[in-house]
């Protein structure tokens, strides 16, 4: 198999974590998100001839992969809706593995209470410790905007966790 353009390994190393984080934030469970991310890379690689831009351009590649991922996720969600066996936006708390550490458990709950945009960047950034630049490329926003969202998110998370700890101590 001869690669038609991009370095697939480079793409997966760069965008794997942020892409899975993005898909989870859009309603896929973790396992489904991983599979959709695999599909996204496969689809992107095979339809490379339609990509307009340089494979080394992080923003262009990110936008390209985001488009494919969201399209696949949309199709997958529609398919699930038709089947009526599983609800769209499954309860993320139902996903394995649950955090064992109470502190992390509180943090997990706190993330679910963040605004969607902040949840998104938190998952994309910290799932695989991806640089904010990669997250920004995939979301089509500036690195500064990602950093701002992370900053706000981490502040809110601190507040949530502190509040939870106080409630726990009071009980």
């Amino acid at each position: 198999m001869t690669p038609p353009g991009p370095d697939l390994d480079h793409w997966t190393r760069t965008f794997r974590g942020p892409l899975i984080g993005l898909l989870v934030s859009r309603g896929a469970d973790w396992g489904r998100a991983e599979e959709l991310a695999q599909d996204t890379f496969a689809e992107g690689w095979l339809s490379w001839s339609r990509f307009q831009g340089s494979p080394n351009n992080l923003k262009a590649a990110g936008a390209w992969l985001r488009g494919i991922a969201l399209r696949l996720h949309g199709a997958d969600s529609r398919r699930r809706r038709r089947r009526r066996t599983q609800e769209l936006h499954e309860d993320l708390a139902a996903d394995p593995p649950p955090p064992v550490d109470p502190r992390l458990e509180a943090l997990d709950e706190a993330i679910a209470k963040l605004p969607p945009g902040q949840q998104e960047v938190v998952r994309m950034r910290y799932l695989e410790d991806s640089p904010p630049a990669h997250v920004a490329a995939l979301l089509g926003i500036t690195k500064k905007a990602v950093e701002r969202r992370l900053y706000e998110a981490r502040q809110k998370l601190r507040d949530h966790v502190n509040r939870a700890e106080r409630v726990g101590a009071a009980q």
Binding site: W45, R79, Q86, R103, L127, R158
Partner: protein, 561 residues
């Protein structure tokens, strides 16, 4: 940005939180590679563009194919071109005949038949699309018989020469042949009620044409048939006999299927043919025929298991699994491969529907062969298969249902198949291409997606028929129409090539006829079912009588003069 870390949650905590959810990079990359290979494989098999898919419903060849000679030679294309040429020549011939249209002594019915013949082939193209093939053929046969009967009654007093009568009669028989047999390649339900099949009617017509030639020879002398005419007739008949298989030979005995298996070039490195051969062996099992020797296939699979350099498509593993070509030891060897071990783990660890089930069915077989199916694991797998069970209104529902049925069987939960009987029947009704489906060709079988394709596909029909063997046939699906489609597809064009290409259709036909069985009919229904044969026999008889009557009238006239 001034960031006071003490006011924020620690990054390490966030990294710790997500760490258990990280994917294995190596496994992820392997999965991406596999998906690329699968997509490449499926893209090679399917036309991608919408216009290509639409064209594929009407044409028997891939519009994107570069094999020009192959598709030019395909019969319906030839028929279309031929019919348009026939129409053009009909118009020209009609124009030429105008000045002599009122020749004294011409039978009026003869002129009517000639007009019908000139424009008939063109109408034959259009009418089935508008009215349905069964109605068209019944009406056309009725018209031809009435016209031929009127012509026969007028021949004696018309003063027409036997050669002229013979020419008209043979043209009429040829039109009947075109209508009935050449278009049967495109429209499935032709003579769907007939148990004898169209082959007998084709034989009668060809016999009729040959007989008419002999009569002309006898009564009209050698001058009636020119050397060029004889040559053209011989070439035409030879083409029909060799390329079109007018007698409908289809190699659908169990021995034929066994021969297909014996001749299969078992190469696990190649995807081609494995699914069809598995279907053929499943059919032989289904009808209770003895299995042919599979040792060559077993050896090939054993080599593929031991030699990891051989890249085997998941579909090949699945086909081999279904027909029991792998031993438990070989499954253990397979599951020890890193990618497979991970897939099996995911089958156990994850919940929800099975992803890419059409490719990865073998993974469930691998799991069942290498681990003890505890009640809990069995229930877990059953729940995942249940979650995968498609809604009857989704595209490819029948094919996916069949995959799920295979898996229910494999984990020993056959009872769950019966629970889905209504779902399966609903999908069958939805995907069946009935004759009243509108602008559809190749009706009678099952399509993959009725919203996209109004034509039958062999794999969807195989899935439907396989499911029928499990949950029965819905009352509103005409199994004879299904059989008619399969008969049409099973006809061997150019014996050797066609045999390989029609393997799945032939296996499906055998299942319909020998495993499911067709509903019983009364004698009257049987006779009515053979109306095409009766009509063609009558046409031939009338044609011969006309020639004989014209010859006798000519003799009488010569005596009188």
């Amino acid at each position: 940005m001034n960031q006071d870390e003490s006011k924020m949650v620690a990054e390490d905590d966030l990294l710790d939180l997500f760490r258990p959810r990280r994917t294995d990079p190596e496994g992820f990359d392997e999965a991406v590679q596999r998906k690329i290979e699968k997509r490449q494989s499926s893209r090679e098999q399917q036309p991608t563009a919408r216009w290509q898919r639409a064209a594929a419903t009407a044409l028997p060849f891939s519009p994107s194919s570069s094999k020009g000679v192959g598709w030019i030679l395909s019969l319906p294309f030839l028929m279309l071109i031929g019919s348009v040429l026939a129409f053009t020549s009909g118009v020209r011939a009609a124009g030429r005949r105008k000045p002599t249209a009122k020749r004294p002594g011409d039978a009026k019915a003869g002129s009517a038949i000639e007009t019908l013949l000139h424009f008939g082939p063109f109408l034959i193209i259009v009418a089935p699309w508008l009215f349905g093939i069964t109605v068209t053929i019944d009406v056309l046969m009725g018209l031809l018989i009435v016209a031929m009967l009127a012509f026969t009654l007028q021949v004696r007093g018309s003063g027409m020469a036997p050669s002229e009568v013979g020419r008209i009669g043979m043209s009429l028989l040829s039109t009947a042949f075109i209508a009935c047999f050449l278009w049967s390649f495109t429209f499935g339900p032709l003579a769907a009620d007939s148990d004898i099949g169209l082959g007998a009617s084709a034989g009668v017509i060809l016999l009729g044409i040959a007989g008419s030639g002999i009569l002309l020879w006898t009564y009209g002398g050698r001058s009636v048939l020119s050397v060029a005419g004889l040559t053209m007739t011989a070439v035409w008949l030879a083409f029909i006999a060799t390329a079109l298989n007018p007698l409908g030979l289809s190699a659908t005995d169990p021995d034929d299927l066994a021969a297909d298996v014996a001749n299969f070039a078992a190469d696990p490195g190649k995807l081609s043919g494995w699914e069809d051969i598995a279907a053929t062996i499943e059919t032989l099992d289904g009808i209770g025929a003895s299995r042919p020797d599979l040792s060559r296939m077993r050896d090939a699979i054993a080599t593929a298991v031991s030699d990891r350099k051989i890249k085997v498509h998941p579909v090949v593993w699945t086909a081999a699994a279904r027909i029991g070509l792998l031993t438990d030891a070989q499954w253990r060897d397979l599951v020890s491969r890193p990618g497979n071990a991970r897939e099996v783990e995911q089958l156990i660890d994850r919940d929800g529907e099975l992803y890419m089930i059409d490719y990865d069915e073998y993974e469930v077989w691998m799991l069942c062969a290498t681990q003890e199916l505890t009640p809990a694991l069995r229930d877990h797998l059953a729940a995942r298969i249940e979650a995968t069970w498609p809604d009857p209104a989704t595209p490819r529902a029948l094919s996916e249902m069949l995959l799920c049925v295979h898996l229910f069987d494999r984990i020993g939960r056959e009872d769950l198949v019966d629970a889905h009987r209504d779902d399966i029947h609903a999908a069958m009704r939805r995907q069946w291409v009935a004759e009243h489906s509108g602008f559809a060709c190749s009706v009678g079988g099952f399509t993959s997606d009725p919203e996209e394709f109004a034509t039958s596909f062999e794999d969807s029909t195989w899935a439907a028929v396989s499911l029928m063997t499990r949950v029965g046939v819905p009352a509103d699906i005409d199994l004879r129409l299904v059989r008619a489609y399969l008969r049409q597809e099973s006809r061997m064009a150019l014996a050797g090539i066609g045999r390989r290409l029609t393997q799945l259709e032939r296996a499906t036909l055998v299942r319909v006829e020998r495993e499911i069985g067709l509903p019983q009919r009364t004698i009257a229904q049987r006779v009515l079912g053979e109306r095409v044969l009766i009509a063609t026999s009558l046409l031939v008889l009338l044609c011969w009588i006309s020639v004989v009557l014209a010859a006798r009238a000519q003799v009488l006239r010569s005596i009188e003069s």
